[in-house]
């Protein structure tokens, strides 16, 4: 579950960075991906906290990523990251049960759908 949380945070930051560098067509798409992966991170954190019985205060916003990247992530990098995350969540879902299996299945489905439809859209020619 912790690994899934890391993947969700990684993808969210990657998509946000890619959105900043993207043009008008893909930026909104990448921002939706960033938001949805942040939602996944939130749900995973809540489930991890619930299972551990801890009443930990929710983590603050993620530390700003070092701005050392010379070339910002491209849309295709985000697609590849989502496909990897989708596979990872699907595999874990098959081996867990109950709510956790359901949550990871929905997360996997979300990642695949984002990679397959909005991110795969062709920018209309002007």
């Amino acid at each position: 579950m912790e690994a899934q949380l890391e993947l969700a945070r990684r993808d969210s930051e990657l998509a946000r960075a890619a959105a900043t560098a993207a043009g008008d067509f893909y930026a909104p798409v990448l921002n939706v991906v960033a938001d949805e992966r942040a939602d996944h991170a939130k749900a995973l954190s809540a489930e991890i906290a619930r299972a551990s019985g801890a009443t930990t205060t929710p983590a603050g916003p993620p530390a700003p990523s070092p701005s050392t990247a010379a070339t910002p992530a491209a849309r295709t990098d985000v697609m590849a990251a989502l496909r990897e995350s989708a596979d990872s969540a699907a595999n874990l879902a098959a081996n867990l049960s109950g709510y956790r299996a359901g949550l990871l299945g929905s997360i996997s489905a979300s990642c695949t759908a984002s990679a397959a439809v909005p991110l795969a859209m062709k920018e209309p020619a002007h």
Binding site: V32, D35, E36, D39, H40, A43, A86, A90, A93, A94, N95, L96, S97, G98, Y99, A101, G102, L103, G105, S106, I107, S108, A109, S110, T112, A113, S114, A116, V117, P118, M121
Partner: protein, 162 residues
């Protein structure tokens, strides 16, 4: 010559109604798939020709999934629900846009049914099948949202209420 009481062809073993939570969830998903297959008839009738491929692919996917799920229940000697004689459409379908909106709704409903299967399943094989089903419904829903120009095209938790 065999008598009618001793048939030569294999006969189905007696089936029972779904009782366990996992079988009930699977039966519910099969019922949802029956309704979707029926509904895609309306979608097909009202869709523009350039959507023929999307309609045909969607329908093929749902039929294959329903048939696999029926097989799974049959292998446990559990009766699968049969298709209803007719279904009440949730909203009237008068044009291609209504049809596409119905497709979004059906894919969304099916995703919920498959998430329930996923949560109730007792084997990794069943869970893997449910994850695939949930994923395919999420992808189809996104494609149909593209048709109706809804935004965003995706939801963070397909089939879930998080």
């Amino acid at each position: 010559m065999t008598s009618p009481t001793s048939p030569t062809s294999p006969q189905p073993s007696p089936t029972k109604q779904p009782e366990s939570a996992d079988d009930k969830a699977l039966a519910d998903a099969i019922a949802a798939e029956h309704a979707t297959i029926y509904g895609y008839g309306f979608v097909s009738a009202h869709s523009m020709p350039d959507l023929n491929d999307l309609v045909a692919e969607s329908l093929t996917e749902h039929r294959a999934r329903r048939d696999s799920a029926i097989q799974t229940l049959a292998s446990r000697s559990v009766a699968a629900p049969v298709a209803a004689v007719g279904y009440q459409l949730p909203t009237p379908v008068k044009n291609w846009k209504d049809a596409a909106a119905l497709a979004v709704r059906m894919e969304t409903d099916d995703a919920m049914a498959w998430r329930a299967v996923l949560e109730q399943a007792r084997s990794s094989t069943d869970r893997a099948f449910a994850v695939t089903a949930l994923t395919q419904c999420a992808v189809r829903a996104a494609r149909w949202r593209q048709v109706v120009t809804a935004w965003p095209l995706t939801v963070p938790f397909p089939g879930g209420s998080e």
